[in-house]
Subunit: 466 residues, 4 copies
């Protein structure tokens, strides 16, 4: 997928404990997680006495410079990249969030989405809390402080986490510890590595490479890993543990060089391309993938089918975030600034087009049209995932049934709308085969949500959301 109107991951987190140049390392780590969020980022560090905070709107390379990094003193630091400005954008929602309290200041960074946030917010406000952001993260901070376990901090955190329902990977940094927590369903990834006697925690393993850290293990579902000067300590806040990893991490979000719970992402995608061909073979002249995320699947398809892979679509590398608003007559052309079809490759060919998923269908329609205008004799569309039929409540930016073309249309109807000569979606079961797992969260394909969904979502439904 390529267009702005598509899926968005909400966040990535990265932490460093007991390493020289901790903020430098977080800077590099966040840069490797930049694909998980480009709207805002921040780093909080501590020298075990004071905390230092630097945050801003924009890419890691835009928000930080040497002066700011130099201010982030200490051997411990956590950072965050964020996509969404959902819930009222603005700087007050940029993470990590930093809280002051006489029993000890702390910082929080969060990847995921809490399903019962309205209920918890109401409960907290009724007992005297007020909120400055619309972020779920602030809720956890209040919950922790509401607990009368100041002498036993792990108990306070554990009790608080048990009140949260939904998807989360949290980093909590106090002056001398980092707590790495993962929801009991295991919906979002969180991994730990070692580096020169210290530790590194990251949403994805691809960020370990850049800082030279060695992968150690994942944080388990329902686990709090406490990192302090004595090393790692494990504490399970829940005995209910599943491995419902978000399938979209494999299909679209994660970087191809990341391993998620042991399976490499590129390998998953290439395998899904092979399975696609086996699911429904086709005769064609060339295989074309939608850059960048569908490249692996397209290569797998080409390899399995023997149909040559060609670079029939080119993405402009210099896409900035501030295009000029094209005059009305040029709007259609403006679209081509991002992606163009290569006429001399496409012309007179039967094209297999590989994409990772279809959300609204508008993108696929444009690309098929682009290929046909470039002279394609036929366009056979293969999607390396099942039809998306349900919203996600765990941190992916699909919030309504309405926007999902497959929630309302059959495969044949979608095919007709996008103008393809054929349309094939990967079977849901094949996701397990490609990922070599027996559990996954496939709620967006099946509507089977692993968690409760609470009142707020019923209300959302009344407003026509679902």
């Amino acid at each position: 997928m390529i267009w702005d109107s598509s899926l968005h991951e909400e966040c990535g987190v990265f932490g460093v404990f007991n390493c020289h140049n901790a903020a430098d390392l977080v800077y590099y780590g966040l840069h490797s997680l930049q694909h998980r969020g480009q709207e805002a980022c921040g780093i909080v560090s501590t020298d075990q006495t004071d905390f230092y905070v630097e945050k801003g709107l924009g890419l890691v390379t835009e928000v930080f410079n040497e002066t700011k990094i130099a201010k982030l003193k200490g051997l411990n630091a956590i950072g965050h990249v964020r996509y969404s400005t959902a819930g009222g954008g603005g700087l007050e929602n940029v993470q990590p969030m930093y809280f002051r309290h006489h029993t000890g200041n702390f910082a929080l960074a969060h990847n995921g989405n809490i399903v019962n946030s309205s209920e918890l917010k109401r409960y907290l406000e009724d007992t005297g809390s007020i909120f400055q952001s619309t972020s779920d993260t602030e809720i956890l901070a209040h919950l922790i402080k509401k607990e009368k376990h100041d002498s036993n901090r792990i108990l306070a955190i554990s009790t608080a986490l048990n009140m949260l329902e939904g998807a989360f990977s949290f980093l909590i940094m106090t002056n001398n510890k980092i707590y790495a927590c993962r929801d009991k369903y295991g919906l979002r990834p969180l991994s730990i590595a070692t580096l020169n006697g210290g530790y590194v925690i990251s949403s994805e393993t691809c960020a370990f490479e850049v800082v030279g850290a060695t992968y150690l293990r994942d944080v388990e579902p329902g686990e709090i890993v406490i990192i302090d000067n004595d090393g790692l300590h494990s504490y399970f806040f829940s005995q209910y543990q599943r491995h419902k990893m978000c399938a979209m991490e494999y299909i679209y979000f994660a970087r191809p060089d990341s391993d998620i719970e042991g399976q490499n992402v590129h390998t998953f995608r290439k395998e899904s391309g092979k399975l696609l061909y086996r699911q429904q073979p086709v005769e064609a002249d060339i295989v074309v993938g939608v850059p960048d995320s569908s490249l692996s699947a397209a290569i797998g398809f080409a390899e399995e089918s023997g149909i040559p892979y060609e670079m029939g679509l080119i993405k402009n590398k210099y896409i900035g975030r501030t295009f000029i608003q094209p005059s009305q007559a040029l709007r259609e052309r403006g679209v081509k600034m991002k992606l163009s079809a290569v006429t001399s490759i496409i012309k007179g060919k039967r094209v297999v087009l590989i994409d990772d998923s279809i959300v609204r269908g508008t993108t696929s329609k444009r690309i098929v049209k682009m290929l046909k205008e470039a002279g394609a004799l036929a366009v056979y569309v293969y999607i390396a995932s099942p039809p998306i039929t349900s919203p996600c409540f765990y941190g992916v930016d699909i919030s309504t049934y309405e926007e999902l073309i497959s929630a309302h249309k059959s495969v044949e109807e979608v095919r007709e709308i996008i103008g393809a000569d054929s349309l094939v979606f990967l079977d849901e079961k094949k996701l397990y085969e490609a990922s070599k797992r027996c559990e996954l969260c496939t709620a967006c394909f099946t509507g089977k949500y692993p968690t409760a969904l609470y009142q707020s979502y019923k209300e959302a439904n009344k407003d026509g959301k679902f």
Copy 2:
């Protein structure tokens, strides 16, 4: 190739004649040519009475906004993207250059490099000229104005162009005409397309797609195409005409979706990958290309050999131009911000690594090391071009013998330096086969320069350049 220390193209030009929203169109066109120069850009437009100039340092999307585009009135406009700040950087060298003269103001944009610029500058200064920039472009303006052919402008331009030796594709815009000129050797590309009764001129055909223009023909070597309200007029300033297109345009510079003198660039590269395998077959487990420019060749190699293509190297999409200066201990890691090896793919494999060219050898060395650290059993390096042994004087940023590893080392020595298990360069003759041409400028591989090189280069040699 990926590192900053590699080859740089100097420029791209784009012009529009008699189209509504001319400056908008040039904006889109330049954005499609951004790979030819990222340091600076500019647009000059005219409404047949006045000229409007907007220029700046940075990417097209950074320099221009709606306000600036709106100031660029008129139906005619030319633009320029520039890599080099060579010759004294600074805004005075940013193109297009605009000149005022009572016989008619005009703007110039230039892609290429003039070999006898010092000789011409001295001649012009001796007859009263002074120069504000260090750019070759200013020389042409002075030469045109020195000619006493004001009543016959095409004669003045023609006489001036005949004094220039070297590589050039010039756009000259007066209040009611655009002159598109190409050197008699045909070293740099320049193509023309039609759009709603108007005309579009571009360094590469990939830029036609975004503005919806239809390719018409190339400007011929030694030709001036005059575009005015009566349409196109052809004038040959030289009867000596060759087709010595720069081979590096095919190998590295041009975008894969461009056609250069009739041959698609991606197709050339994929073919060169096939030829590489045929030239020296190998047994291996996976084929890995260095992103982004070597992808086409790698896919060709994989297709021809049957060895599976894998995404073993990942490029970070969010590379900005302003990284923080990493602390000394982290400098090596800083390098990994741009490119990383995927351990789970590489580990235990015999890897064929495809790159488009080797300049200094330092990049190749780093990548081979990276792959071996990721667990590659063997790394067989295949380069989709011959060894670069000579500097380029026609607009590519290779100015000294010293920096060229193949100018001093044998293939075997280079193999040892970069740590590869084998090293194969494409035969020079294969370039003709892949491009389906019988003429190319391969001076950087052979030292056979198509033009004279003049005194200044002899002097350069004394300083140890060659």
Copy 3:
């Protein structure tokens, strides 16, 4: 006074109720209050349903542009300018602060300083609150929400305000009301004006002029003025009411065109200049005031004495906040970028130098030296306020005894240090005469604080503060 090392006011507030273009008006109002704080500013508006927040570091004209103002919808808005980044700078402390609560969101803007903030913070944290900023303002929000008077908001606010000890002028904006509150001592100004059926509230009356509002009355000490669609309502949260207006507002902070509790500031200052001469007449050739704040006093002195006023010191109008760091040899000259002595006026003259106050004495020393180097035969220094001998806890940036030259030195010692030929401070009693008031807070001159000072200040004392 002119140097950066001098006194700083902490804040200014401005609010608009039921006026079209409310945010525009606040923008103009804050611009008129810019002298009260240049580090940061913000505006929160409400259309009675939603709230809109825009804040940033910098001057009003730097932080806001048309796009941002356009986002601030609604007929009601409050704004804030801030000097200090004390207490941890950073964006989290920029006001107005905005709080979300299911019983109604609200925004707060504060001018002043709370004396018992540590005590209140501890109390609030012990009952479950956590803090994100170090600002006093957040304390009031928590106090209000702790109160179980949600059905009776004025009671909740009143109870909360009664827990605060210190100086404050608060604006509290809910979706349909603005509460304008002033501490019971009346330490900081807050005035109300009418505008086209709506209301305007401002720290200083000078801001009414720019928006075309008509002064109505001051908020009284201990009063909450509630502004809603039915007009103004008065509520007194305290029966203890004094008029201890900060003398420094007259002497230095306020703009000369403001009236503070009925007395024009320029008139006060001019009068203080006259009183200075009457207090100790002198024979001299010219009177020179330190620009800009001492001009009024100097003119009063000249008028009373008959000694001609001359522009012997010139302030550079183009002082930016980002001077280059001068090389060591030039540091002394760098100082002159702000202020220079006019040799042709000063030379051979006996100079009366008028300044508004002396804090550290370093500034006065430099100016006297500058005048003598310019040829002054004698420099008689007259200060239009008494010696500052005690820190301020009510929002002025004098926090330690140490920095105050008059806390440790006699007038004669100060005279010698600054190199003056004579030195006269205005008698404290004359402040009452100039202001035509019988009450003022003159704690910084007398050490007689109108409020309790609490534990935290005793602790501060241990660290050597006082």
Copy 4:
């Protein structure tokens, strides 16, 4: 005067020869000359081998930072501040201009305006020159290079300067010399000072103070002062020498702490205020000056008349250059952001309002209205200069008769238009008395131009200019 619609000086120049930190010193010097031009600035330095150029749009403190200053190596440097973007704005007109030529590169900085620039440009273009800027400065460069006196540079410069008609103070910097040149009429100031064995040249003496230099002498009309390692050398390029210093330098442009040809500017202005009162005494309650430029005259008037000076108009110190565009209803109020009347001072008073000059009359009209709205019983306007009746061709931004109210209206008519109760202009003869000179350029008051005006101005007249 205060409004943007008023008079603008075009430029200021500053040079340093043989001083350590030359570029630092020029930075400070230009900052002191900032009032002569706020639109753009630049510095060129030389280490006697290479030249270094840094220029930009904006204030000195905005364009330069430590990095840029550090790049400006060498002991010699010249700089320029510029008001006007007249003639096509843009960076190509920012000075100093730098020219490359094999006989020696050089930089030029210019204050003034050349009257015969079109004639010279045509002559130069006819002999082969082309122009990139619209600046007069480029003309001088071409003229110098046209001269065949390369072996005798002073002869080339001298011949070139003799071709220029108009007002100029030029600095010409070669690799080892600075030439300081002043037109034969002496229309624009240029002074020299010494500093630690080196030399400093400045448009105004106020800039010497900040760098610690000691005033030596003025460059004489028609003189070229050559500064090289042997010291100062004087060369007169013209035997016709007058002292027609621009009267507006005294009245409005120059900083009050500058001395122009021996007379201090503040002293001139104060004297003009005294002369105004003597010219036509008045009975009134207070004297108010329009800040900032009319303060000196107002104080003189108050002193002479015994009427007390009051600060009845306040200028906002924080005027930025980027106000938001106020909504239509607020435009009138937007004006008040710059200046406000102090009601409590003005109310019920008969006000003498002192301003330095009247150009269009719109400003005076607004101020009189503002004072009356604030309750002034009467407003007696005194202008410290004669009526401006003619355009200026020597570098002041008054280019048409049309815009000048006094070119078309009698004093009584102007009085009525601006709504004053009386209006007095200073007699032209009094300017000589205040300046203690017998020569001045008063062309804008009298129409008696000291130079020829050439064809181009006749043409301008046809277009209705005069």
